[in-house]
Amino acid sequence: MKVYVLDASAWVKRYKNESGSNSIDALFQALEQGEVESCLLPVIYYEMFWNTQKFIRAANDPTNRSLLKYSPRELQRVLESDSRHMTQVKDLLDSQGLLDEIDGEVLDLLQQYPIGSNDALILAYLRRLQERLALQGRQLVFVCSDDDLKKAVRAYLTGCAVKDSKIDQLP
């Protein structure tokens, strides 16, 4: 069985009409019905949370008040509601001790490659998640619309399927 991990660049299409939004909706519908599984990486959730807060703040700015016809804060609740369909990656990995020394791997990645700290955290988490899923005979699918990150994941994690909702059909 496939286990999906959504990157923020793909997840955001759930809340903003972009190329690939329908594919993301299809994935969430499958999640709601328990047809597929998904894991949530904390760093990706923080990035999504930060982006939604930025949107809410901009919308609530007194200079933009005239644009509002409803409350933008609902976006935060929708984000939370969506995240409940996903399993916390920590719950899967912590008990196995798989998160030990993750900091060391992140620092190594930052030393070796010209990537950002969030990229490094994502790669480190994905590698451990992939190892854990492989033991259970399950395959990790990373859904991402960030071309550079897609390349990095493909290069660092051989065997990890990388899909882009703009091009690929989901789930």
């Binding site: 809340y15 933009n64 509601s81 916390q88 619309s145």
Partner: protein, 478 residues
Amino acid sequence: MDEALRAADRGGSGGTIVLKRTRQKHPRSPLGIIRWVIGMNTQYRQYEVNHLPWAPFDWDYIGGELRLGKVVFRPLSDDALQGIDQQIADYLRLYFSRYRDLYNNPVNTITVCHYDPKHRGLLEPMTDDQRADFAAAVDVLTFCCIWGELREALNRGWRLLPPPNAETLECRAHRFSPDVLADPPMVTLVTHGLMHTEQVDKIFFQMPLPAHHRGKIQPNLELLELLNQVFNDSFDPQLRERLLRSLRWFRVAHRQAQALDAEIQIVEICTALEVLLNLPEHGKRKTFVQKVEQWITATEGEEDVVRVEESANQQRSSLTTKAGLWAQNFYKLRNAIVHEGIQSDELLYYPAVDAHDQPSQVSQLSVASLVYGSMLIQKVDEATGYLHSAVRAAVDAPAEERESMNQLYKRSEWGVRGCLERLGWVRPFVYTTEKIQSLRERWTELDKELGGVLSSEQIIAERQAKRTQPKIGGSMKE
């Protein structure tokens, strides 16, 4: 200096604040009588500077100042001291520089506050009535800061920083007369009713540990505006008196939030609820439960409220709301604390779920404070027919749209639906894909107007800015 003070005494401002003695009526409180007698006997001019030393308000977010009723709150700055006699201003700078944080650095959190924005009397002593108004304004501000943060934390299901408490918003009054300004400047301290004088530059006012608050306080400005209505002349004076009295208890309940007074805090917050709800002499618990049930069904709808079986005795059982059951047990807990004491600290906590539906615990103080705040807001909202500021601005919108906007906005400012879901008192709202698709249309439209804040391109661009050249994929392959 003397000339300036004499000019001030004559009522001439000459660019300085008028420093005339306020003609006071006979005070009612013992403290007031002492001040009155001292004032009569000594004929000294008294200055008074009220301040909140430890409250780290985010003034960039708030704006230059806060006004509640007739009380103005402003950050200590050169601007705040402008127009004051130079020697007094220098004395105040020295005095405030003695307020120290946990690292013994001068605090940058001092908020000066004074009564009546008309004369901006930073130095003017208050009458007893003014002092009562002033204390009420501090209570309201304390409530807004504490309750706003509590609501956000419960809504999110997690808390990044410890919450502010009544100590963080502690208000102090510094009274002094012109003779302390002399070299070296002195300060009179009152401890246990005894006064003694010290050189200002030899002492420090250390921040009490519970007052320490990491981060900045961003009070909910719309909530402040709503509660400001309580101070309007048109507001029912009896209701105002009751609400303000209950707010005083709310503040008291949030003192020493990190200390071992948790049991007593339950009694205090329960008193705040009793005063707010005007519970009758007899049958307090029953009425309290009824009021909580009425509140939750009215705000969240009958069908969404979770009901549980309540056993009255072994033969009979009936359905009650989960919130009502909490109210019943909470009041019993309060009685047990007052009369017998409780055996286990576990009773001071209530089960909830965190942001990821994992079991967690919330203090009974937090639950009761949430209920208290929501009911208080409901009362003020009902009494004033409050219109959200955005609705007031949307003058051209049709009446029907304004009404629905008003409800939506107010829910987003002080609604507690998310909190109640975490407590299990209402069913979680399920967002279906169809519902999200319809919301997405609105968000997309709004984002376009905002200039593209929320988009995959934006996320990718921000990431790119943190990456170093060459591009990461190519580099990794190499």
